[in-house]
Symmetry: C3
Subunit: 219 residues, 3 copies
């Protein structure tokens, strides 16, 4: 039984940590965009919970966990208060956003895949929803902040691939009935590591074949 | 029983008025953005119904009221026709957008909180969804119109706070079983008034501590 | 019985074709925006499935078809691979986007109207959801690609009107119990033709009365 391998409390702690680090990334972007404290809170909540709310709406788990479990709602507010008083240098902000974002990415892709599968979706759809859980909040963050989503940009390091890797490992673990707290943590760490390596070595995905234009349109 | 205190017809009239004023705000922004009449209608519908549809999806009230009750759907079209023939001066438009928006804000935050609570959500989640009902349409309006959401901007007067005030009063009324047509109208008027005062006196929320940069990034 | 007139397999083939052409339009926009191959895939999936997922969430058909039927998910990936190796000239891209988009528009507005009605929504709401199915993916595409939605722009040829025409014909066919594979294909072709004519002859919708400003704000 999945239930016995990943206990609810382990999964819950997993989720709160992921929510916290994503919220940090949202609040830090709000600071960079010069938004006020409420803008910070909204962007923190949207980044942290957006992917999960989308997943829960899709799998029919309503009301979504974010509206039932108060710890999901208050965690981004704690992150907002922390960032509010953090006085970060712009450079430190940029680096921190990336690392925190990578951690959230790894945590959420695994958690999303598992939850989608628990609700009866197939493995392919679970991988997709795991990826959507992981990247959905960041896309919503960028759309709300009026930026081109990092996820789509050519001149940004690999972002979707780490999530796909983490989700796929989780799906394989589910398929072979090998999911446990340890193996799911491993899947998250692999995704996190792939993302960090992509950032460190500037790994990028190719653009359309023979597309060699250097012009980027008003990005 | 809540049902006896706020009769369906009172709540319905409440909602249609809120939908109308929000739709006006959406259609006016479409005029400012130079959109065509269909763009006006889409923005009017999105502004008026977006927050409520989001709330209904979250609480599992599908199909959302906006797709069941035809008055919800046709009211924004009436607002679109009115705005289409209104020939407003740009200055008059800006002022009108603000006042209509404030009225919708007050009406929707109370209505959203009450409906979320009626569907079994806790008081905190109901306050959140009340706020989301009130501000969600405006955020969707700004995202669709390709603008930075007013809700998030530092250089805009308080917008989230009035909604939080109205939602919280509604939640307190629910908690103390004191909700009636009169008290819920009072909550809406308080939120409306707080928003008008914020506009009149330029009340703003602080940005992150020691954040004194005046540069705003391509907003 | 509707079921006997439009067999599931006919409706399914209908949908896969629509998904493919919409995905082409999304992937081509991603190329124009200089996104990488994952950005192309995300935009292809969002354009192709966004409207249908929205419709399914609204009518309570969860998980949405896009997450159940693998052909819906893999079709946009095929489109992405095709576009990736297509080496298109920029001019050819622009024209192709338009024609493919028009085909998807016609297919989806009919399919969305029929599915919404099958799930018990009224004819007006079904027309609205049919239109939303058809234009929702394109709006999501433009929002994700950080562009002003084509749907709203005054200086773009009629886009909502063809969808409304197709949805309305489908609703009339439903009302008079005359829906069949042939008549629904006809409705789709009419919508497609109206859109092509609008593109060919530059049909546009009016802006607000006496609005003669030529200034477009930072679009």
């Amino acid at each position: 039984m999945l239930f016995e391998l990943v206990t609810p409390s382990v999964q819950h702690a997993f989720e709160v940590v992921g929510i916290f680090v994503f919220a940090i990334s949202g609040a830090l972007l709000a600071v960079r965009k010069n938004f006020d404290v409420f803008g910070m809170a909204v962007l923190a909540e949207a980044t942290a919970l957006g992917g999960g709310v989308f997943r829960d709406l899709v799998i029919g788990a309503v009301p979504p966990a974010a509206f039932v479990d108060l710890s999901y709602f208050f965690t981004p507010l704690v992150a907002t208060v922390l960032v509010f008083f953090l006085h970060p240098q712009v450079e430190r902000i940029t680096a921190a956003v990336g690392v925190f974002d990578a951690a959230g990415l790894g945590l959420f892709c695994v958690e999303g895949t598992v939850k989608a599968h628990q609700h009866g979706l197939g493995l392919t759809a679970s991988v997709t929803l795991g990826m959507a859980t992981a990247v959905g909040g960041g896309v919503l963050r960028d759309v709300l902040a009026h930026e081109v989503p990092s996820l789509l940009r050519w001149d940004r390091d690999l972002y979707a691939v780490p999530a796909i890797v983490g989700s796929s490992i989780a799906a394989l673990l589910l398929h072979f009935d090998a999911l446990s707290g340890a193996t799911s943590a491993l899947a998250a760490v692999v995704a996190f590591t792939v993302r960090l390596l992509a950032m460190k070595y500037g790994w990028r995905a190719p653009r359309a074949w023979n597309r060699r234009s250097t012009a980027t349109e008003e990005i």
